[in-house]
Symmetry: C2
């Protein structure tokens, strides 16, 4: 008996946190998160720290002895929160914003507790099969044909890497999976075509895959920042003439700079005629296709070979969840399947092993949060929320257009507005750029709203992305008022 | 007033889940998770479903209308849990097991609520700086020198991809970042060396990066499954003679098959002499180095160019968190930095932008869970828990060795034991393989424990990985009893 008691004590000293403590701290954290969500818009969206502040506030050496949870949680408030940029804030309008909606947060909590790893079907059947179900729901919502099948990656960068890796694998005669690209006189230089406005992740993927940055040819855009088809055709013809082998076009639905939409149907025509892989980056814009009257933005995408949409951008799913679709899962599998003995299972012929479809072997239970979010809000509820963002963006664009000292710099197709200050009589572009850069910093410097910027036709451009689930008229309006006020200040002190 | 009321109603209809509901469901889920953690060992570790069962239990079309959280949560119990393999179960002994400890789960919950994305410093200073702090703590715990700096990726596969991409970037004369590998007569075939026992992710990385599978040369192992140095040297010499350019060696500390440890100091000598990149895959084994008397397993790794350790494998951090270290962060940055205008910030010279160090642009707040886990258990507490797993593994190995019908098939350096049934007088290897394969399926078929397998020297080998934070003597003992019982059954019915 004594021995049993002692062994039990030892077990308690090792092991995990006692469940009673987990329960207590867990309840406290639910209230912490609820309070955070309820009052996040009263916080400054941007932190006031300088580089190194957070780091310097923390011990530089790990603790040898255990610390108490209440101290750890208190330190989150004292040292971590002051360094947090509040992505889950209704006035976070930079980049493409992202919402962790409540059902998504709760699903992530469950997913962390289950801690499953869906590398093969057997290692967690529910991961594999719920991923199939949730991605097929999303496929239907996006209006993509049934032959598209999906797989979840962490980010659009990773999805695009896989799309272009498939384009390489599709060049069957080159046998690059076995032989690679190097030291082979029979392999020509290869070329991928993107618009000047494609996301930097496409170039990063091209570099990573061993094609080199020079394998990317950037096609000029028209006055609405869309890839020019005649220029694409001319580039392909010129490359072929020079012994360079075209293999891939990446089109974008909702470019990061200004949310322009490449003419996918015409690009698909070119790809079909030229036998090129078509990858569509709809990471941001794609979500809007779940709104019936916006479905047109994916016109032509049914002919894409691969396509990425990020529910963690504009569908209220916490980061990270990037949905990758392809009409040729067999090519994806051919490119990435490698099954060592220790991962063979007796189900390999009957079930899908998701590790065969990409670089990462491990796989969190990400589908759970997508499934929770779709069910809790419903397709119609999600569409209503996105529609409201479109309304707010149009409204903001209207304010900009109507104002004598501001101007719109790009069409507004989604929830993002590109604009700049352009006071009457100010014509020097250099001075305008300086003014707008100062305007951005002055506005963000108030820490009440977070805008980002880009350059369009050489013009320094302010961007407001409206896409947080809690963003209301009042938030957008106060940002607009702030921008006007800061411009007045700048012009007054100039 | 009426207008305000109506507008408020509309706002409620859109927006997120009401905070009162979040609070209610959140508290329910904390209790759900607490109950799960308290009683997980009473569940079968393996699910009873067949391929397609989970999928067929769920609607094939997305709901148009919102559903109630209580129905969604109820469906987790009804349809998802029956398809879950319980990785967070103390008798999950397959692959390398993984624990979501309570502080790790709670940190993930916070991380999902904050939903920050640390692509650049400005987009969330706390993500960048806590990642630096937590990875530097871990570096100290692993006994790596101060010039190693770290970055978090999702999985070891991704970490290894980045290590080998760095090896390519280090071949400065080839300028592959700009020019790529294809269509260049001046670029020879390239070669990477791994042991026969290296993880399949190394080959996957080599394929992904455009070298082709044939760029991998597998070096034979000695009787302890460690890379043979003379064979490595001979392979390099032969390749050089044939005009193939060696560029990289991947050594493993804790191979997936049998946890063998390549002779890193001798490999480092070869790499130094031959000017080859040395990447060390210590994804599993590395964690053990936090135990002072086990630090020797990383001997020589201070000379590695890059190294990966996975706290989500054997340091009680929920998936996914892979820690990647390098002595040359400048090369990693050179390989992956690409900064478009919309991601330029005024802090770019003063702060580190983590997007510059890898393929994914987006970055969850993963450091939080590592920081929580190290603080809650303390370095000593983590070491004590790992030490206990080593004790349990030695104990299991002792039982195997002492049993007349079983034998050990590999040295036991960590928490994993490779063994097989070998009844007295049974000498036919084919029959032994069949017997052990049937033994594995019979044992796992009870769903009380989950073992996996590998092949060692042609022998079908059972593997038990002991590494869950809640695994106690009783769990290991009951698995051992079950294996013996199943062997008896098989031999009786044979």
């Amino acid at each position: 008996m004594d021995h049993d008691k002692k062994s039990q004590q030892t077990e308690t000293m090792l092991g995990d946190m006692p469940v009673t403590e987990f329960r207590k701290v867990g309840h406290q954290l639910v209230d912490w998160v609820a309070d955070y969500l309820e009052h996040v818009d009263e916080r400054p969206v941007l932190p006031g720290v300088k580089p190194g502040d957070v780091r310097r506030s923390l011990p530089s050496e790990p603790p040898h002895k255990p610390e108490r949870m209440e101290d750890i949680v208190a330190d989150v408030d004292r040292f971590i929160m002051p360094g947090v940029t509040h992505w889950n804030h209704p006035r976070f309008h930079a980049y493409f914003n992202s919402t962790a909606s409540s059902p998504g947060i709760l699903a992530e909590f469950l997913s962390a507790a289950l801690n499953v790893n869906g590398m093969v079907w057997q290692s967690c059947p529910a991961v594999t099969e719920l991923e199939e179900v949730a991605l097929d729901w999303l496929r239907q919502m996006l209006g993509l044909p049934g032959q598209f099948s999906g797989v979840i990656y962490d980010t659009a960068s990773t999805s695009t890497l896989h799309g272009i890796a498939m384009a390489r694998e599709a060049l069957e005669d080159l046998r690059t999976r076995e032989e690679g690209l190097a030291g082979r006189p029979e392999v020509p230089r290869l070329r991928a075509y993107i618009s000047e406005f494609a996301h930097s992740s496409v170039e990063k993927a091209i570099i990573t895959l061993g094609f080199g940055m020079n394998a990317v040819r950037k096609i000029p855009v028209d006055d609405k920042f869309r890839m020019k088809i005649p220029e694409l055709e001319a580039a392909i013809a010129e490359d072929r003439k020079n012994g360079v082998r075209p293999f891939c076009v990446v089109a974008t639905v909702g470019t990061t700079s200004c949310t322009s939409i490449d003419p996918v149907p015409a690009i698909a025509d070119v790809c079909e005629r030229e036998h090129l892989w078509l990858h569509v980056d709809a990471a941001y814009g794609g979500s809007a296709a779940i709104i019936p009257e916006m479905r047109y933005i994916l016109d032509g995408c049914e002919r894409a070979d691969s396509l990425v949409v990020n529910p963690h951008k504009w569908m209220f799913v916490p980061v990270d969840l990037s949905a990758f679709y392809t009409r040729s899962p067999d090519i994806l599998r051919r490119a990435f399947s490698l099954v060592p003995e220790y991962l063979r299972t007796s189900h390999d012929n009957a079930a899908r092993n998701l590790m065969d479809y990409g670089v990462p072997l491990g796989r969190r239970f990400r589908a759970l949060k997508l499934w929770f979010v779709i069910r809790y809000f419903g397709w119609d509820g999600l569409a209503d929320r996105l529609r409201d963002h479109l309304r707010l963006a149009k409204q903001f664009a209207g304010w900009v257009s109507a104002h004598p000292s501001f101007e719109l710099l790009a069409p507004v197709d989604f929830g993002t507005v590109c604009f700049r200050a352009h006071p009457h009589g100010m014509t020097d572009e250099q001075a305008l750029n300086t003014l707008n850069e100062r305007l951005l910093h002055a506005t963000n410097g108030r820490r009440e709203t977070f805008l980002s910027h880009t350059k369009l036709g050489g013009m320094y451009t302010l961007r407001i992305a409206i896409g947080h689930i809690q963003t209301r008229d009042s938030h957008v309006q106060s940002t607009w008022e702030l921008v006007q006020r800061e411009l007045k200040n700048l012009l007054a002190t100039a």
